[in-house]
Amino acid sequence: MTTQDTRERLELLQGTLDLLILRTLIFGAQHGQGIARAIQQTSDEELLVEHGALYPALQRLEERKWISAKWGISRNNRKARFYTLTAAGRKQLVRETSKWNRLTAAIGRILESEEG
């Protein structure tokens, strides 16, 4: 765990956690711990996600009917609650992704023009 302790990790921007969860679930059903691990690994351990923060977010997404949940058995034979992307969630992901892309592009342009 040394790498994790020495590197200064990035705090998540508000509202981006939902997007990351939806994105992670595009590869198939996953449980909370799996989502947390996926976010960490996919971001090259750059993002700091407090695992606990995931669950209220999952609950929120479930209430908005963007994801659905079912208890199931994990790979190593443990009970876990598995989340799946719904059709509405898929649409939301597309919307949010394009919004995010426009946002980062715009911010990027501003930052580059200042540097230049």
Partner: protein, 890 residues
């Protein structure tokens, strides 16, 4: 978000699963069991916080807090049942009374009349302000002018009365109305069966078609489906039933009785039996009309004014300028309600005030409790409770109290509904529409919420700005805020006392009036007397009247007397007209006679008018009236003997103050023919009796013999040990065995008639008395609250005083004198108000002066005594204080 789909335990299980999975993964990476578990928990973060967030997100926190507050408030109320009961009862009384009065106001004033487009319906009233005459009636030519004016869609005269109905199962006396043929078209209500009158019918007299009510159809005709085109006899005249109105239809009359009209006959009012249709012959009243659609009442009024002006120019002889003829349009609803409007609004105001005193009082109680709960509030706030939460919680307590009170009030009202409607005088218009309906319930709910907000806000406001440190340090000692509060509470108590004194004096004066009335020497004896009414028909053509002269009437009369005397228990029997029914008749100008005294002849138009009743000889003895001079009627004073009269003392005193009235002659009109006058001899003088009104001293009055005059509106009197259930049936059988066409109705004992004549007085006395008692109770509670508060505030001081050797009775005196001060201040203000109110009431008082010192002094003393009693309870608590405990109190 509003419903929880997921349980917290399920959420907890998921968290557990997460930590287990993470621990396993970390173990796979080579960590020891212990380290893996710790690291997994560390990475998860604060489990409790996550669970809280789940909890809050999945609920509605406001609702949650509200539920908590309600539970807490319910617990607090349960913990002090005495306080709760008093507060709930206070509110229940206020809400119940206010809702009761509101439901009456709603039915009479607020609800529109139950006809299509009721805003177009008006009453058309002729006034002659120049000679000070209002509502003189309309003449037939005026009616036709107005109907043709283009201002109205329809104009219809109406005229109520009662009439004998024969041709159904049993001869009955019913309320009927003579109306214009366009009456139902005007009201806009279709018939249930058959048809209404033809609005264009031009028949001058009665059209001989009638429409009957659903009640008459179902009652007298047993709901016969072949009712249409059936014949019906009204006072022996033949009419044809053409229609039946729906059960929901009510005539727009002023009283419940009129609204129960059972039959409508159409007439043109221009042929017999109506008088000649002259322009100056004003006899149509009341007249109602429907304004043309699109016109407002004020537009119609201004066009009508123009029409009246041009008619005045056209017929100057019929409308002399000095009489200043005017025609007024009054919205029909207002005309129906009449002058009850103001008194109802006043009553609603008064009852609202009682509710307000109730609220003030509960606020007082809550404030007193709030100051004893000050420490609890401060502690909770110090522990982090938000101020807003505390305010809400106190407000919730107030609302819960008021809702409980409202519910109890409505339950009481609902149970007492029948009784309450019974004590309301029958003359109240639209009484039959009074119900506890949705508007009334809505009103009760609003009043309840308002009341709860009023008295819940006071302690909530107080809780919103406590000085925490001081509250925690010195509970019970007066801070400046609570001193200000105490001043307010004292002012409230003083005003409560003032108001209840006013109400109590009003009630006291009414009570004394009522008691005095019951002591009045009646001058006749109503015990063991029963009266039953019948009505000899008045056909449209006088020639067909089989009882049109005294000689034609006499055989029937003697037969009724003879048969009645044989009934079981009957010791005496007499017949008179309704005018002879003591306290049981309305004043009617039919029974007023212009009096022309021999030797002082005056034109009959200027002659004084005197009440006259027509009776058989046995009447005076049966009612126990005393003969003072001369003689009473005898059997020989019959149709062939010279006409005689018996007068009362007031008559003798007024017209022959220094002469012997016996033997004097007066000129009176003969019955049936108003124009012809005959001389009558006074044969006797009887003592005055209160037969017209219990409250007024007797007016001049005379009695004529039924053997010498005809009467249609009979009352048959019997005296004896009577079976009051059997006698009406037996009398009916006897009368109908002589003339089977006659209805026999209205059986009442004279004692009942006597108490019914007091009904309105009793009602106002009871209502005002009830309000006064409520106010007194509330004032007593109020002063109790204030004194209790003062005592608890000064427990420490009293302890010191006692420790220093103060006498207990001195302490008692000190506390009582504070309460006494409040009561006396309130009473002093109240006395001023009571003098004003009592003078306004002078008209309804009997036997007592408005400033009756006995009432004023005794009520004031009673009030002060109640105040002292209310103060004594907390004061006794004060002197029982153990100095040691009191000093350790802090």
């Amino acid at each position: 978000m509003f419903q929880r789909t997921r349980k917290a335990s399920d959420f907890g299980a998921e968290i557990e699963a997460h930590i287990a999975l993470e621990t396993e993964r970390l173990q796979e990476q080579g960590l020891s069991d212990e380290d893996a578990r710790t690291e997994a928990r560390r990475r998860f973060g604060n489990v409790t916080r996550v669970q809280e967030r789940f909890y809050e997100a999945s609920r509605w926190p406001m609702w949650d807090h509200f539920q908590q507050d309600v539970r807490y408030a319910a617990r607090m109320l349960r913990k002090s049942p005495g306080f709760t009961a008093i507060a709930v009862l206070t509110i229940a009384l206020g809400i119940g009374a206010t809702t009761a009065i509101f439901s009456v106001v709603d039915a009479t004033l607020l609800r529109p009349l139950l006809y299509p487009h009721p805003e177009q319906l008006v009453s058309v009233v002729d006034d002659l302000p120049g000679v000070g005459a209002r509502d003189v009636g309309m003449s037939v030519p005026e009616w036709h002018d107005f109907a043709r004016s283009g201002i109205f869609e329809y104009v219809s005269p109406t005229g109520g009365g009662d009439v004998n109905v024969t041709g159904s199962s049993e001869p009955t006396r019913i309320l009927f109305e003579t109306v214009g043929p366009n009456y139902f078209a005007l009201l806009g209500v279709p018939t249930e069966l058959g048809r209404a009158f033809d609005p264009e019918d031009q028949t001058p007299g009665f059209t001989l078609e009638v429409v009957i009510s659903d009640a008459l159809w179902k009652g007298a005709f047993g709901g016969d489906p072949r009712i249409l085109d059936r014949d019906i006899r009204l006072d022996n005249d033949l009419y044809r039933i053409v229609g039946v109105m729906p059960a929901s239809f009510r005539d727009p009359g002023q009283t419940s009785a009129q609204r129960g009209t059972q039959l409508w006959a159409a007439a043109g009012f221009a042929g017999p039996p109506a008088p000649e249709p002259l322009r100056a012959s004003h006899f149509l009243a009341p007249v109602i009309a429907r304004i043309k659609p699109g016109l407002t009442i004020s537009e119609a009024q201004s066009r009508l004014d123009a029409l009246v002006g041009s008619l005045q120019k056209e017929y100057p002889r019929d409308y002399p300028l000095q009489s200043a003829w005017r025609v007024r349009l009054v919205p029909l609803k207002q005309a129906v309600v009449g002058d009850v409007r103001q008194s109802l609004i006043l009553l609603l105001g008064a009852v609202g005030l009682v509710l307000l005193i109730g609220c003030v009082n509960v606020a007082n109680l809550l404030l007193a409790r709030a100051s004893s709960r000050g420490r609890e509030m401060a502690v909770r706030q110090a522990l982090g409770a938000e101020r807003k939460r505390l305010m809400w919680q106190l407000l919730t307590e107030g609302l819960l109290l008021s809702l409980l009170g409202g519910v109890v009030g409505l339950v009481i009202l609902y149970c007492a509904k029948g009784f309450l409607l019974q004590i309301v005088p029958e003359r109240l218009p639209r009484l039959n529409e009074v119900t506890i309906n949705w508007p009334a319930l809505l009103f009760a709910l609003l009043a309840t919420l308002l009341a709860g907000a009023i008295f819940g806000l006071a302690p909530a406001w107080h809780a919103a700005r406590p000085d925490l440190t001081r509250m925690l340090k010195q509970e019970g000692r007066g801070s400046s805020a609570s001193r200000e509060q105490a001043r307010t509470r004292r002012a409230l108590v003083i005003s409560e006392f003032a108001l209840s004194l006013v109400l109590m004096i009003a009630a006291g004066l009414l009570l004394r009036s009522f008691a005095d009335l019951l002591q009045v020497q009646l001058g006749y004896n109503p015990q063991n007397v029963m009266a039953v009414r019948t009505w000899l028909p008045i056909p449209n053509d006088p020639a067909t009247d089989i009882y049109r002269t005294p000689a034609l009437q006499a055989p029937f009369l003697r037969e009724v007397l003879r048969r009645g005397r044989t009934l079981p228990g009957v010791e005496e029997i007499a017949v008179g007209n309704v005018e002879a029914l003591p306290l049981g008749h309305e004043r009617s100008d039919l029974n007023l006679y212009p009096l022309i005294i021999n030797g002082r002849e005056t034109p009959s138009s200027e002659a004084p008018l005197v009440d006259g009743a027509i009776v058989t000889p046995g009447y005076f003895h049966l009612l126990g009236m005393t003969l003072l001079r001369g003689r009473l009627f005898g059997e020989s004073d019959n149709e062939s003997a010279p006409p005689v009269v018996v007068i009362n003392e007031a008559f003798a005193r007024t017209y022959w103050p220094n002469e012997n009235p016996v033997g004097q002659r007066i000129k009176l009109r003969t019955a049936g023919d108003r124009a012809s006058l005959t001389w009558n001899t006074v044969v006797g003088v009887i003592a005055d009796a209160r037969t017209e009104s219990l409250a007024d001293a007797s007016a001049p009055r005379m009695y004529m013999s039924l053997y010498q005059r005809t009467a249609k509106d009979w009352a048959i009197f019997v005296r004896g040990q009577l079976d009051t259930a059997a006698i009406p049936v037996q009398l009916r059988a006897q009368v109908q065995s002589v003339d089977p066409e006659l209805p026999v109705f209205g059986a009442r004992t004279l004692s009942d008639v006597f108490s019914a004549s007091l009904a309105e007085r009793r009602f106002s006395m009871e209502i005002v008395g009830l309000f006064a008692l409520t106010a007194l109770l509330l004032a007593a509670l109020g002063i109790y609250g204030v004194i209790s508060y003062i005592v608890s505030e000064r427990t420490h001081e009293i302890g010191i005083r006692l420790a220093l050797g103060a006498q207990r009775h001195r302490i008692l005196q000190m506390i009582l004198s504070q309460g006494l001060g409040l009561a006396i201040a309130g009473a002093a203000i109240g006395l001023v108000g009571a003098v004003i109110v009592a003078h306004l009431m002078a008209g309804v008082l009997y036997g007592v002066r408005p400033t009756d010192p006995v009432t004023f002094v005794s009520v004031a003393l009673l009030l002060i005594a109640v105040a002292l009693l209310a103060c004594y309870i907390p004061a006794r608590r004060a002197i029982r204080v153990d100095p040691l405990v009191a000093l350790r109190y802090e």
